[in-house]
Point group: C2
Amino acid sequence: MFNFNEDRFVKVIEDALSLRVDVEKTIDDLYDRGFENLFLIGVGGTYAHFLPMKYISETLSTMPVHVVQAAEFILQGNKHFSKDSLCVFCSRSGDTKEIVKAITFCNKAGATTLSFVCNSGTPVCELSKHHFVSFAEDDHLAECIYLEMYPVIFRLLKNRGEFVGYDKMFAQINSITPYLVKAKEQTEEMAKSLAKHHRDTDYHMVVGSGAVWGEAYDYAMCILEEMQWIKTKSIHAGEYFHGTIELTEEDTSIILLYGEDATRPLMDRVYNFAIKISKEVAVFDTRTVELPVDEKYRQYLSPLVIYTMLERFSCHLEKERNHPLTTRRFYRQLQY
Amino acid sequence: MFNFNEDRFVKVIEDALSLRVDVEKTIDDLYDRGFENLFLIGVGGTYAHFLPMKYISETLSTMPVHVVQAAEFILQGNKHFSKDSLCVFCSRSGDTKEIVKAITFCNKAGATTLSFVCNSGTPVCELSKHHFVSFAEDDHLAECIYLEMYPVIFRLLKNRGEFVGYDKMFAQINSITPYLVKAKEQTEEMAKSLAKHHRDTDYHMVVGSGAVWGEAYDYAMCILEEMQWIKTKSIHAGEYFHGTIELTEEDTSIILLYGEDATRPLMDRVYNFAIKISKEVAVFDTRTVELPVDEKYRQYLSPLVIYTMLERFSCHLEKERNHPLTTRRFYRQLQY
């Protein structure tokens, strides 16, 4: 595969998987001590990756879960938030400005803070009551975050008696690494030709729903916009028909991200309409990927798997467009 | 003002205001009977207009409020939803497919359904356990919806002992009509020249935060995309810095929608950065509008006021671009 370091990828996955036992201990302890509600406090990509956690929780549990944007949360306040809230954060760098501020805010309120970070010794580590470190860079970051967050969410649900398959599912997830490598391999050719085809395309719609909606939001904003400087609209499959549909033309690029939950019919509805108008409809579908888990658990892994697949597209876009994924003109380059 | 029928506008506002006493009776009755949580179930524009209701509630109350996308909600289910949920809907037409299905879904589950509709005798009226009719067309629809929804949210909070200013605020809101007309008048010249300037602009970023974020989402999707076929990115002010920022160039149109809540500093942060790079930054700010309510209540009215102001821009865009706001090539034109 082009520009893919399998050893590095495997290490990211295995390192994240190996954290599970420690995460479980912490979560069990926090559960036993009790908490009122769960706040998942993110910004940009981490906000996006938290959305599936809320989706999963709401399909299985009555646990109150709030996914909030860190900068807004600090200014706005939230009456549900209190010293009895369990607040979870992720930060790759460990010094994301908004996250550092939000952790400080939560600590001051006496709430419990728990963070996942890719770099030790950083402010997020130092400030958080509990933290776990597992290294990843942007290309495999979501896999790392999801493999850390699944034990948080599902362990809480298991402890609440709302998810009986916990041990079985995680035993299966433990062997996921080669399946993810294979997911990349089988996406490679399609991603390559799609990137070549879209070398000069200056606008993409990215459509998702259900557990994968956060990834549509993320891929549009954090990859295509931030890393390739291409305009996008991320649009929920259910919302496409209420505005964005009118932009659809023969040459409109529409990238559909299919997960495997109950909302797939919303994606089909967009697909079936879009192919009538546009010749530029592309599909990434996690259902094409073999996974080591039972059918009923696949839906929860979809956001992770779709990110794994999309990274191949990003890699080829970088090459075809001669635009490094790491180049920024503003982000962390200027003061703002 | 260009293409503005003041009598029609005044009638929309006054009709919606006049519903309040009846809405209060229904809400008091539902409150007394008790409910577990509030589901605001929308699609497209109505989803967008529900977002500020959640924002308001979360800044004042611990009442559990869920804003969900109707089509997704039906397929996904939600463990918080039950026969004890109070479910609120809005539909201008009264036959919005997703809303009709969602009301049916909620009725079947034994939940309480309450709808606001612009046309009597429609399926939404017939299906809902409770419904209120007040006429509006798209140009003044959000004013109608907000003036109907404020008594729902704030009455519930008042009954819960979480909003003491209820009577005072609504007595003040009762005289809002001429202030909204004046808001349009004072926006007219700016809207006209902005529309002229952007006659050929094919992409806008629309930025909002807090109580006004839903309106940024709405204006981008339901007006610029649906009614003018112009590409947009609606971006939360707190999220702009995590991707979309990289698209900012000297000629990038960035339309900032300022409300008056605690999140204004997020808007300032975008503004202060954007004007360094782009020459095409435009601001609509509700703070410039005189209102008959106490300072502390203004933040709640911001989403309504910003919609009132933006309608002037839409009107002039229609003229300058010679593109009627009512033309659709797909929405309700094709089967999908």
